[in-house]
Amino acid sequence: MNEPAIDIVGVEKAYRFFHLSNISLRLEPGQIMGFVGPNGAGKSTTIRILMGMIRPDRGDVRVLGHQVPRDQAIAKREVGYVSDDMRLYGSQTLAWHMDWVAPIYPGWDAAYATALLKRFHLHPAQTIKALSHGERVKATLLLVLARRPRLLLLDEPTTGLDPVARHEILAELMDVVRDERRAILFSSHNTQDVEQISDVITFLDRGRILESSDTATFIDRWRRVHLDVPAQVTLPDAAGVTETQRNGRVAVVTTSAYTPDLDSVYTQAGATVQDVQRMTLEEIFVATVMHNRREVAS
């Protein structure tokens, strides 16, 4: 059973003011994919499409080998979905939810559920509406983790959480991929988390995928080159440069395709390389989106 955990081909979905276009991506078992993009980029919509809650206008969606939305009930037996706008029954307790959800899944691990209660510092007798935001997220996640699903779809799992809660959740998520048959797709604004634990990163902006590749090589391609450029020197165009900021003699070149040859290109043109800096995922994220928007506008 080596089918991909997620296989999306050519998905399109048109709304009045928003258009999801040509979405294709693949997630293999054992992988963690980070889904990054500004608000309104289409991350939540894509995940909802994976869950069968939204039917695309075009395209093929397969989750754990099952076609969605047609066979969504079967696919969801092994999928755990948590989104930041999802709510549990406020008037009921966490224990009630656990007792209600457990019989639905043959894979429910009661011992693990109890362990998670302790690790997350949750009290099963508490009603959901009495929980803080962080506790509520952890409770919802517990209901998903305890049944050890093969695929986890997480929409902003750590947004709005304090650092301790984030750490607790990340630890449990990392535990999931000890099993190479399980996969995780999570969307997040927290680029630090994405950078740290994702094997693959997919960038979305305005309904389009800008980039989808493995994290290390992706981040490795980007640099900020700081140059000292004498007044009469024009900087040559170089492939992969997304932005050049020049202020008098000081220039900063942002490039998505860095090789040491680039240094020579600039040196030969008469400029001097002061520093070559790696970029964090957050910086890359902003640079990518801004560049893409400028291209679209022109």
Binding site: R48, R55, Q72, A73, K76, R77, L88, I104, V144
Partner: protein, 222 residues
């Protein structure tokens, strides 16, 4: 697995709505009791009976169906191994049961009460038609609740519904058949009355079926 998840959802909804159903039933039975000792066929107990069923109707639809969508609890339920069609089906069935059981019991209680008490049996068709209309009103409101989360539409439906209930009661009371046979000792079913009751029940179910069919084909569920 297919049917058991639907059953699991239905039982959950019935569990969450149980207090409302029980209180409506108790309140309604009290109302029927009051009706049995009251000299007037509508005032007092009658009003209370109608109220109990209308309140149950509104609560079941607003709390049991609409609130779940607004609160995004529906997203949680849909994250379980259930299709959108199964979700709607389970909602409708559970909600129908939660309303129909008290409604059936209260309708039966009313008819029996009219028969054994000093209220003239001539009012049996009248009360059957009123109670039948409350079922129809429930089906329509449930349909509206399934189709939209807009509180504007819900408010409109509830106001129109309540006004129509009052209207219907007055119109029925003033109708020739009720005026002619109401005070009598035997129930007289004119074809008009019989047709009305049938239309109410069948119409209600038809409205619900139509909504469920179109609703299940929606392309965006949340």
């Amino acid at each position: 697995m297919n049917r058991s998840i639907v059953r699991h959802l239905i039982l959950k909804d019935l569990h969450l709505m149980r207090w409302m159903s029980r209180s409506a039933l108790v309140g309604g039975l009290v109302a029927v009791g009051l009706m049995s000792v009251s000299p007037l066929p509508i005032a007092g107990g009658g009003v209370l009976l109608v109220c109990a069923l209308v309140v149950l109707n509104i609560f079941l639809v607003m709390h049991g169906v609409v609130q779940e969508r607004k609160d995004q609890v529906a997203v949680f339920v849909l994250s379980l191994p259930v299709s959108t069609t199964q979700y709607v089906a389970a909602k409708v069935v559970a909600n129908l049961i939660a309303f129909s059981v008290p409604w059936l019991v209260l309708t039966a209680a009313t008819l029996v009460m009219i028969d054994v008490s000093q209220m003239p049996n001539g009012f049996l068709p009248f009360w059957t038609a009123v109670l039948g209309y409350l079922f129809f009103y429930y089906c329509v409101l449930l349909g509206v609740g399934l189709m939209t989360t807009s509180s504007g539409w819900h408010a409109t439906a509830i106001i129109a519904g309540n006004i129509s209930v009052n209207f219907l009661i007055m119109a029925l009371f003033a109708s020739p058949s009720v005026q002619a046979y109401g005070a009598g000792d035997t129930a007289v079913w004119t074809t008009g009355m019989a047709a009305l009751v049938v239309a109410e029940i069948v119409g209600g179910i038809a409205v619900l079926a139509a909504v469920v069919m179109t609703h299940s084909r929606r392309r965006e569920f949340v």
